[in-house]
């Protein structure tokens, strides 16, 4: 069993824009590695640094945002590639939760399975949160999966998240591998009865 994730609390940073794709979150050249180590530094690299490697004006580069644990984003966040490198980079850069208007399907699944919380607010509440975060670098945001709300600056906004994901996070079952392994007898039966590639009393084309 993993750690149960019921609340995430911390300072926040708003990364503006809709349809931020995974190529932007982690450019393809940083995928040339056989581990996820070190991905945190490559997060949003081409948005944060110019070609000479000098930092640009990006929210993640601002000194007052260092150590932020919550990222506030727009709509369609994480579209594009299935690369888990994207949520891994966000997690390894120190973030524990993302609050946005909507998330791409695969990104959401990948993030949830590594315990990176993704929740949505309705556009109006998200606008208020974004403005508040921009005005209050020291302010803390609370993402409360049990109460299903995001709290900041004395305000409360109801959050939405797919119930299966919420349940998995708050019960510490966000990584399902242990549960999947429990059913291996049944899985082996399916393997024996289901057609497979080249199956012919065994698997054709295999040495």
């Amino acid at each position: 069993m993993m750690e149960a994730i019921k609340q995430v609390r911390g300072r926040a940073v708003a990364v503006p824009g809709d349809e931020i794709d995974t190529d932007r979150i982690i450019p393809a050249r940083y995928l040339k590695a056989i581990t996820f180590d070190g991905l945190g530094e490559a997060l949003f690299y081409d948005e944060r640094y110019d070609e000479a490697g000098n930092p640009k004006d990006h929210p993640l580069n601002r000194p007052e945002r260092q150590g932020a644990r919550i990222m506030v984003v727009g709509a369609g966040f994480g579209s594009g590639s299935s690369r888990e490198h994207a949520p891994q980079a966000i997690k390894r850069a120190g973030f524990a939760a993302i609050v946005g208007e909507s998330f791409a399907e695969i990104f959401f699944g990948n993030a949830t399975q590594i315990g990176l919380v993704c929740v949505t607010l309705d556009p109006e509440d998200l606008g208020v949160l974004t403005e508040w975060v921009e005005a209050h670098p020291e302010g803390e945001v609370e993402v409360d999966l049990e109460a299903r709300e995001v709290r900041f600056g004395g305000r409360v906004a109801p959050l939405a998240i797919r119930e299966a994901a919420r349940e998995a996070l708050v019960s510490g079952r966000w990584d399902p591998l242990a549960e999947l392994l429990e059913a291996m007898d049944e899985v082996r039966k399916l393997d024996a009865t289901r057609p497979g590639p080249g199956k012919r009393g065994g698997y054709r084309g295999r040495a």
């Binding site: 794709d21 393809a28 579209s79 299935s82 690369r83 994901a165 057609p195 590639p197 012919r200």
Partner: protein, 473 residues
């Protein structure tokens, strides 16, 4: 009682059980892996002391990082070399079949699966790559997964998944000459939006889809993910069966009739209930080009680039951002836009049919790629390359000034040496026009069909391929 969709039938045949979270544990018939998203998964397995449960259901190839101009090892890029060696080590250690470089079977994972007959109707298919939706063209339920899920499939041959809704997209009527599968899917994404498919599997049907070849159906299903749908599929039919017959991993002749009978029964019932139905008039579709930074930002070649002043306020911010990045003036025609690079290839349009189509346009247009334009053709697999060379397509391209390359993903996402430089603008038969997608942080991409790419390569600018082919009404 209402009938069932193919999605429902396949789901029911593969659901092992419901998990405590409410997701389902789904059995996976076929797992495809490549060098980019699998090494970390094998690493996790090692840390957990787990093996690969069913190596006979996993197949590997190398596609993203392979150079397409030279094949001798070690590759110039040591990171690329390390990745291919890690894949070799992992597949050897776990008894997984690898279609390695030079085997005659290597290529883009979504090209190789179908051409080897690994991809079959009714299968659940996963791969650590979002364009796994391609395999849905065969009536498979195929979807991209993350690396931690690759680990899950290696360890258990199952994955935890929420069940999706199904949207039926009927494309009826008749496509006009010069309009192809790429134009159909760009039209669908533009119509339904890049987020339109979230929570849905797309079932494509209607007379246009039914008349399509398997390769064309693969192009449509491939880009389902660009419309936000994780899965896109077409019901299996005679076209599907004819494509599969005799392929190396397809059912053998003595079990063929039984296999076909089984596959026929998987198609959605005539009275199946859908969560949503969308009608598209195929006769209204024209050749498409994207102008922006996501695949939904597409216009026909006859249209003008949008003007932020004339779109809704919600859209204006994204339109502005896209125009600024693409360095395009609002309101002007896309036709006549100069290009620096032309790329024919990728899992969307790197199959034999795509190369034939591009070569046909090259022949019709005549002339040569003008100075200052780089044009490259990258076959989707070693087998596609061999077939194209047998037909003399490579010669047509070479004589017109295109570079003819070895198989790989190449300039779709530029993880190999094929990249845009600076703010070069490329017309590409690939699937994504995201910022920086083709390897330069300022690089710009116009997505189009292989025919449109070939026409633009020879003109040095965006042209209407129908004029080149003499079919413009």
């Amino acid at each position: 009682m209402a009938g069932k969709t193919l999605y429902q039938k396949v789901w029911e045949a593969h659901e092992v059980r419901q998990l405590a979270s409410g997701q389902s544990q789904l059995f996976i018939d076929l797992h495809l892996i490549h060098e980019v998203t699998s090494p970390q998964a094998f690493g996790m397995l090692r840390e957990l002391g787990l093996g690969v449960a069913m190596p006979h259901r996993t197949f590997a190839t190398v596609d993203h990082i392979v150079p397409t101009d030279a094949r001798s090892e070690p590759f110039a890029d040591p990171l690329a070399q390390a990745m291919i060696e890690e894949l070799r080590k992992n597949t050897r250690e776990h008894g997984i079949e690898l279609f390695d470089v030079g085997s005659g079977r290597q290529g883009i994972v979504h090209v190789v699966g179908p051409e080897q007959g690994l991809t079959q109707p009714g299968f659940t298919i996963v791969c650590g790559d979002s364009h796994t939706s391609t395999h849905g063209a065969f009536g498979a339920i195929a979807f991209g997964i993350g690396t931690t899920q690759v680990r899950d499939v290696l360890a258990t041959q199952t994955v935890a998944m929420p069940k999706l809704k199904v949207r039926r997209i009927n494309v009826n009527g008749e496509l006009r000459p010069g309009v192809g599968a790429k134009d159909v899917i760009l039209h669908i994404i533009r119509t339904l939006g890049v987020k339109g498919g979230q929570g849905y599997a797309y079932e494509y049907g209607g007379s246009v889809i039914e008349r399509m070849s398997m390769e064309e159906r693969m192009t449509v299903c491939n880009m389902s993910i660009e419309g936000g749908a994780r899965i896109g599929y077409v019901n299996p039919d005679a076209t599907t069966f004819a494509f599969l017959r005799g392929r190396p991993y397809a059912p053998a002749e003595d079990e063929w009739e039984a296999a076909v009978a089984h596959w026929r029964g998987l198609a959605s019932d005539p009275d199946a209930e859908y969560d949503d139905v969308v009608e598209i008039d195929g006769s209204q579709i024209a050749p498409y080009v994207t102008w922006g930074i996501n695949p939904g930002q597409a216009i026909t070649v006859e249209e003008n680039v949008p003007d932020p002043a004339r779109v809704s306020p919600e859209e204006a911010a994204l339109v502005n951002e896209a125009l600024e990045y693409m360095k395009l003036a609002p309101g002007r025609p896309i036709k006549g836009q100069k290009i620096d690079v032309a790329f024919v290839g990728s899992c969307t349009n790197g199959r034999l049919g795509d190369l034939r189509e591009a070569a046909r346009v090259v022949r019709a247009a005549g002339g040569r790629v003008p100075p200052g334009v780089r044009a490259i053709v990258v076959p989707g697999s070693e087998q596609v390359a061999r077939q194209a060379e047998d037909e003399g397509l490579d010669r047509i391209f070479r004589e017109a000034g295109f570079e003819w390359r070895y198989a790989g993903c190449s300039m779709c996402l530029a993880m190999n040496p094929d990249k845009l430089v600076g703010d070069e603008i490329s017309i590409s038969s690939s699937n994504r026009n995201f910022k920086g997608r083709q390897g330069s942080p300022q690089g710009r991409t116009l997505l189009a069909s292989p025919a449109m790419v070939a026409a633009a390569a020879l003109a040095g600018e965006v042209v209407d391929v129908r004029e080149v082919l003499g079919v413009k009404a």
